[in-house]
Symmetry: C2
């Protein structure tokens, strides 16, 4: 089905050069799987020097973990693969005809290119909201959220005007997907447990947390009964869940919401954005240079083997890929999908080099998990739906299992045990008065 574009001469004389753009789950798993093949030379390019365990980013935003706990230097993870070279750099263009990627100061040749640059936030055309409602994709985003959340309690403590104090003690989370649910739950935990003894002029249990969702339930990708359980758990933590609510305005002082015919204004100083994603800029580059077709949010529609149609040497993995060959919907933008896609492409490249036929990609569903505060989570394994404490335990162990591959596992586990028994956050620093929001690709 595919053509072997690498000539036999190349294959025998020089190593096969794979360039991977992006060191998230997709890129990293591809690099690790290829690192074992001596006849392959891999260059992994990322704008940052570290891999970020994004599923736990909301714990940094809410002061439970430190940024370093969920980040590992890409070099350290890959240092024992002598055929993997890590470059902290940016790919600004690609030239498929010449088999080259373009960096700001030079070009790099490739035989196979893997693009894994992921997605960033999307404000549905209201880019000015980015200023007042930060999203959660990078470490800087998380530090900025953490700064805003803890600053709000500090300002409430100092404020003597009851209305203004109320606004400081009101948090609005936009979007009730997994990130929004996890953020709202963690805020509830903070207000009702971790911080309840820390203030003298305010009672943090009076904090109002709104979780706004456009469709009719939280966690829309989950089965309706799990959504209902999640909504109930959130309400137990003091979160007001408002579904079928469209945000029509966000300012420094309020959020405007339309629910059916009604429009409501919620005075608040802290809005957290968890509503939408848009593909990274590499999607557009692939469309312009390699003729890729993009979906509504800019993701690249890929072949059953994850290559770009018409470009057998260019693969897209992870959140940037729209893989619609399994199930009714494209595969979701979650870590296990990216990992499996990265590992699959690595295997495909190795098979090609051996002259073997590629096997089609098949995502093996490991389930989806979302956590709602301490002791509560929902787990959907397809054949099994769970909620409550057992689901929470599964969530904890699943994350520790994945973190095993990086050097942070032990620290995170201990921090969690400590947090669990003390119900205190471990990393509640307010740093940087002004943080520029730096988004990954």
């Amino acid at each position: 089905m595919e053509q072997l574009v690498t000539s036999n001469a190349d294959r025998n004389s020089a190593p096969h050069r794979v360039v991977i753009v992006g060191g998230g789950f997709g890129g990293l798993y591809a690099a690790k799987a290829l690192g074992r093949s001596k006849q392959i030379e891999i260059t992994l390019i990322d704008k940052r020097n570290f891999h970020l365990f994004q599923p736990l980013l909301y714990q940094v935003a809410t002061g439970k973990l430190a940024p370093g706990d969920i980040s590992s230097p890409l070099r350290a993870i890959l240092s024992h693969y002598r055929n993997v070279k890590v470059l902290m750099d940016e790919v600004i263009d690609i030239k498929p005809e010449q088999h080259q990627v373009v960096l700001p100061t030079r070009t790099l040749p490739y035989d196979t290119l893997i693009v894994a640059t992921g997605v960033s936030h999307h404000y549905f055309g209201q880019d000015q909201w980015a200023e007042v409602a930060p999203g959660l994709k990078t470490v800087e985003d998380a530090i900025e959220m953490r700064r805003r959340i803890f600053r709000a309690f500090e300002f409430a403590e100092k404020e003597t005007d009851p209305e203004k104090r109320q606004a400081w003690l009101t948090f609005v989370v936009v979007g009730a997907g997994p990130t929004g649910v996890e953020l709202a739950g963690a805020l509830g935990d903070l207000a009702h447990h971790a911080l309840k003894h820390d203030f003298r002029s305010i009672d943090t249990r009076e904090t109002r947390i709104f979780l706004l969702e456009g469709v009719d339930r939280v966690l829309p990708p989950y089965p309706p009964d799990l959504s209902a359980v999640a909504a109930k758990s959130l309400e137990d933590l003091g979160v007001t869940v408002q579904t079928q609510s469209l945000v029509t305005g966000i300012t420094e002082d309020a959020v405007t919401v339309r629910q059916g015919e009604q429009t409501e204004t919620i005075p608040t100083k802290t809005v957290l954005w968890a509503a939408g994603v848009r593909a990274s800029g590499m999607g557009k580059v692939l469309a312009e240079r390699a003729g890729a077709t993009l979906d509504r949010v800019g993701r690249v529609i890929v072949n059953p083997d994850l290559s770009v149609p018409g470009q057998p040497d260019i693969f897209v993995v992870g959140d940037l890929a729209n893989y619609a060959h399994q199930g009714d919907q494209p595969l979701p933008g979650i870590a296990p999908v990216a990992m499996q896609e990265g590992a699959y492409v690595a295997k495909l490249i190795r098979r090609r080099l051996r002259g073997q036929e590629p096997l089609p990609f098949h995502y093996s569903n490991v389930g989806s998990l979302a956590v709602i505060g301490q002791n509560a989570a929902v787990v959907n394994l397809g054949w099994l739906k769970l909620s409550g404490f057992i689901a929470w335990l599964i969530w904890v162990f699943a994350h520790i299992y994945y973190l095993i591959e990086f050097d942070n596992k032990l620290i995170v586990m201990i921090q969690w045990f400590w947090n669990y028994f003390s119900r205190k956050g471990g990393s509640r620093l307010i740093t940087q008065e002004e943080v520029t929001l730096v988004h990954s690709e």
Copy 2:
């Protein structure tokens, strides 16, 4: 000797109001010691929401610990003292006659004031050096240093011009006091151990590290034989120690050094400043408003009981105080001095309220410690001088002992054990392309 300025009426009717400015070691230990007295009401004011364990800041700067590992929220540390109120705010002025401190939006009355705002860097009148040679006093400083250090290795890896690559692989530390020695040692550890397998185009063991000191030996406050041992340990880690060297210029590309008659230019992209401190702005405020006398670097010369001469209700503790009533020199600006001073003033206030005579302050010397890379340190207990591995073990346990009082101890200990056996840093993130240097006070 002192007058009881708090009237008996006050003492019997209302709680005695103590305002503490600054949540470092001095302020925090005063708050903790006062927190046990029910008839005292304490307000601790700090611009930041966390206490910082500054002696380990160099480990954040060199990627061994995360900022959260050495910081604890002041509220969390003090939450069980119901008579302690924490305010994240800034004192911009004081009015000793009215017994008030002035915050940006209001004033606060006090019966006793404890000023513990510490010191910041000092560039000897060359303030433009701050841009190119960051100091190390705040978490932001440490993150900025970390960014520059790890960025330098990344740029060296990418650089093809050998001269420019050399400049990226050259680090200059200015000042060989404890901070400078610890930074230089940690850089040597990084270059020769932690990073040695991580790069493909450079050999990090070729890194050049210069430690420049104006006087004739490293660690000038220590006995000369310990200085010699420290210099030897540094050289074993590949550090070039240059004493009697005065820095005459720092640019983005080089440091100019004068050694006797000779002037040398060291091409480097990374300069770390550990050379001098200047008292925080509260020193000047105390001079203007309360008639305090300042020393050469702006510290407040205090009475034997740590009060400001002529102001029996205003005390200065920690690095901001110049306490010259014990030994030939003022007490050094180290954590144990600040802790003991804070605790002493708390005790003095309690004695005053009971109508007892104050006892004079006496610093009980717990020794000084400096660490030079892994397994090497120098310890000066006065009656005992130690160096090498035993000194390093004492250093480790002394720091863990002090961290016990905060909730970070366990995490830091485990992180250290992990770092020790893996020789890898735990937190090597390069965040924020541009970080504004925010100095404390």
